[in-house]
């Protein structure tokens, strides 16, 4: 029997929490109903004046970053003060990262290799675009909410096994942003800031774009595909939806993901899924788990010749071969064991 892989799985009772800091104001009460447009939290935050990726600035590895620091979290530094330095060539050379202007040091993202200099404080609101119930709130647990959501499986998470066992429950919460429709290959992003956002880059993530996005404050980057070597080497939180290398990506899948633009998203490391909090749409109603009819079914190729390409079954034979019309217009006869059955 064949199980259909639901690309977007519906969850009616999804529980998640939005973290907040001391000084932020929670504007909803426990057991209170949330509607689209409800202001949930009033946040006080400082804008990031400058962000530096330390391994790139002073040529050190990600593991060495903490040893190179010359400042502490929350410290006020003046223009020209040393933020990090690395001594090389037996003490003959010193590579320094100096502050280009005065600001407050923020080491929140130091595990990813970033040091931020904060500027003026401003107030912003987190506004709901979904309905749900408030289950409670505390500084430790954050604002706990029950709502409905759809989940997308991540075939891989770059730092899943690098994080410590007790933080495997790690979740990244933020607004989901899609760079255009996600179809073009980009080397740089357009916006000035992606602070605390989960960014979907589309079909392929180039390493330059990755650094650009984290430089601009992104908390997580989602891509359909990426070169495996880059994926393993870069050390930043990246999720892969499709696979590795320059593979085919279904335009329907990309536009389905891009359609989540603006929604609140939760990257769940223990589940290896990204949840989009939203009122469940009619077209996401539960289908049968098992495939009932081969002909007309949607499949995704797992064969290396056209890996990732989506198509529809035209016919099948008793030997286990299926004739598939692929989305690029070509047709081929493939073994049924070389495809995955999917529903959007």
């Amino acid at each position: 029997m064949i199980i259909k892989h639901k690309v977007l799985e519906k969850y009616n009772e999804y529980r998640f929490s939005i973290p907040y800091k001391l000084g932020d104001r929670v504007l909803v009460e426990p057991d209170g109903k949330i509607k689209s447009g409800t202001t949930l939290i009033e946040c006080k935050s400082s804008n990031r004046k400058h962000s530096f990726f330390i391994p790139e600035q002073i040529a050190c590895s990600l593991k060495e970053v903490s040893e190179t620091l010359n400042c502490i979290d929350g410290e006020f530094v003046k223009k020209g003060e040393t933020l990090a330095q690395k001594v090389t060539a037996g003490g003959l050379m010193v590579k320094k990262l100096v502050a280009p202007s005065a600001g407050i040091v923020d080491l929140t993202r130091i595990e990813s290799g970033y040091i931020d200099l904060l500027g003026e404080e401003s107030v912003s609101n987190i506004v709901s675009n979904f309905s749900g119930i408030v289950e409670g709130s505390s500084l430790i647990d954050g604002l706990m909410i029950r709502s409905s959501a759809v989940a997308l499986d991540l075939v891989s998470l770059s730092d899943l096994f690098d994080i410590k066992e007790n933080t495997r429950e790690k979740k990244i919460v933020g607004e989901f942003v899609s760079l255009s429709e996600g179809k073009d290959l980009r080397l740089h992003s357009t916006e000035e800031s992606y602070q605390d956002k989960i960014v979907f880059v589309g079909k392929y993530l180039h390493i330059d774009l990755l650094h650009d996005l984290f430089q601009k404050g992104a908390s997580f980057v989602l891509t359909y595909s990426m070169n495996y070597e880059d994926f393993r080497r870069q050390g930043l939180p990246v999720g892969i939806v499709g696979g590795f290398g320059e593979i085919h990506s279904s335009s329907k899948l990309l536009s389905n993901i891009s359609a989540m633009n603006g929604k609140l998203a939760v990257v769940d490391y223990s589940e290896s899924q990204i949840f989009f909090v939203q009122d469940v749409l009619d077209n996401l109603k539960t289908n049968n788990i098992f495939l009932t009819n081969l002909n007309g079914s949607t499949v995704k190729s797992l064969l290396l010749s056209n890996y990732g390409m989506v198509g529809q079954i035209q016919s099948s034979d008793e030997e286990g071969y299926i004739s598939v019309e692929w989305e690029n217009g070509s047709s081929s006869m493939v073994d049924i064991g070389g495809v995955e059955f999917i529903t959007f």
């Binding site: 199980i3 892989h5 070597e229 589940e271 064969l303 290396l304």
Partner: protein
């Protein structure tokens, strides 16, 4: 244990959950009418692999599963008149009901306890068992007794787990008696990154014959590991998989030399049972190449295949024979056809010379001759036969088979009992040397298995 009436009709459903797969085998017997068969189905759980621990994999899944299984087998399994409770239909006749349902879950299965709990809350009529070392030992003990093998290996080759079980008769000097010795040798990979990154190991490259760049190879291999496929003709993937499984088998051998030593060369009746995901993709010849080179096997032995996990499912049932409490099954339904593996000792100077010539003959097959040249890894498929078939092999040019340096080797294939489907003659001189580079491996594999695709 209650005994089953031997000649009564019976049907039993056994399900194995292992390596994110569901193998269902519905066995039916009517020994009075000499009617016996097993209906099989495989369901890949990989589309749900990230959801096996949450609300998606719940009672509804099992309801749908058993309802769909009914259609696949054309067999009434579920009691449909009780809308509130799920119960199985008692066995009445062929196609109607089952006398019992058993689900065995591999202890290495991810989310083992969640799956266990979901089945337990679904139905109390299901007999739930765990596939662990204890189960494997008792099954292999029974199988070796039943088939008369004194030395039996069960090799399970999955991507993340490689396990070799061995049950062997040994003479206890102190007690002056023969005892059975059980061992287990295992390699377990903790996560997918370790498996994908393992191909960067220089030892891995020594076995590889594909000349893709490292970057391409990693992308290919990464996609293969993260999205399991159940069939591939891609030469690059098959080659990486062959190299990967060879090095896993070799690592097991290197770390467990005492446990795995002297298999096939002691004169004991020996057999190896090959199972797991990798042999299903690699095919029989390349799987055997990986096993023989990885475990450094020589001599002669039988090889059986458990690719659809029928043996894992009904091995104990078969071994218990008429004492079985679930169903009485015979060999031809539970065990695969046999391959005879012959690994003679050959001089390294015998390139392109005949090292073995043989023939087969039976009432329905005229005398048919075959031969093997050095250094071929020759997989010879035997013609289908309905009568006892005698197969004889003569070793030439100084080659012989251990332990007694035999130059003559014969065996009989018996349909419905111990039927051979193929002979594998590994006529490569020892030691087997791979490398030093992928191009050399490509040439060597072409000479060994005529693998032009690699």
């Amino acid at each position: 244990m209650s005994k089953l009436p031997l000649f009564e009709k019976n049907a039993y459903l056994s399900i194995v959950i292992k390596d994110n797969g569901l193998w269902s085998h519905l066995a039916y017997t009517d020994h009075n009418a000499s009617r016996e068969y097993i209906l099989s189905d495989f369901t890949d759980l990989n589309p749900l692999r990230l959801r096996l621990d949450d609300e998606v994999f719940n009672l509804n899944f099992w309801f749908e599963y058993f309802n769909s299984l009914e259609k696949v087998f054309s067999w009434d399994i579920v009691q449909k008149d009780r809308t509130n409770i799920f119960t199985f239909k008692n066995f009445l006749k062929e196609g109607d009901g089952v006398s019992g349902v058993r689900i065995q879950i591999d202890d290495n299965q991810k989310f083992f306890s969640k799956i266990f709990d979901s089945i337990r809350s679904f139905s109390n009529d299901i007999s739930l068992k765990v596939l662990d070392d204890q189960y494997m030992y008792s099954m292999l003990d029974g199988i070796s007794e039943k088939l008369g093998y004194e030395d039996l290996l069960y090799i399970d080759m999955d991507i993340y787990d490689f396990t070799v079980y061995r049950v062997k008769k040994v003479f206890n000097q102190k007690e002056k008696s023969i005892k059975k010795e059980f061992t287990r040798s295992k390699i377990n990979w903790s996560n997918e990154f370790s498996v994908i990154d393992s191909i960067q190991d220089s030892r891995f490259k020594a076995f590889l014959a594909t000349d893709l760049s490292t970057s391409q190879l990693q992308n290919y291999w990464g996609n293969f590991i993260l999205n399991k496929i159940f069939s591939s003709v891609d030469p690059n993937i098959l080659d990486v998989l062959r190299a990967y499984s060879t090095i896993q088998n070799h690592s097991i051998f290197r770390d467990n030399k005492e446990k795995l030593a002297n298999f096939g060369i002691t004169g004991q009746q020996s057999a190896v049972i090959v199972s797991g995901y990798i042999p299903r993709i690699l095919g029989k010849q390349k799987s055997l190449l990986s096993v023989i080179d990885g475990l450094e096997l020589s001599g002669s032995f039988d090889c059986l295949w458990d690719l659809d996990l029928k043996l894992l499912s009904y091995g104990k049932t078969y071994a218990n024979g008429v004492n079985s409490a679930d169903i009485i099954l015979t060999r031809k339904e539970v065990l695969s056809l046999v391959s005879k593996i012959i690994i003679p000792t050959i001089s390294s100077s015998l390139n392109n010379k005949v090292v073995m010539s043989g023939y087969l003959e039976s009432l329905d097959i005229q005398r048919t001759e075959f031969f093997t040249l050095a250094p071929q890894f020759s997989y010879i498929l035997l013609p289908k036969h309905e009568h006892k078939t005698v197969i004889e092999c003569n070793f030439k040019n100084g080659s012989y088979v251990l332990p007694n340096k035999e130059k003559y080797f014969s065996f009989v294939s018996v349909p419905d009992s111990n039927m051979y489907e193929s002979i594998l003659v590994d006529a490569r001189p020892r030691p087997i040397i791979y490398g030093p580079d992928t191009y050399s491996n490509k040439l060597k594999l072409q000479a060994w298995i005529n693998d032009n695709k690699a």
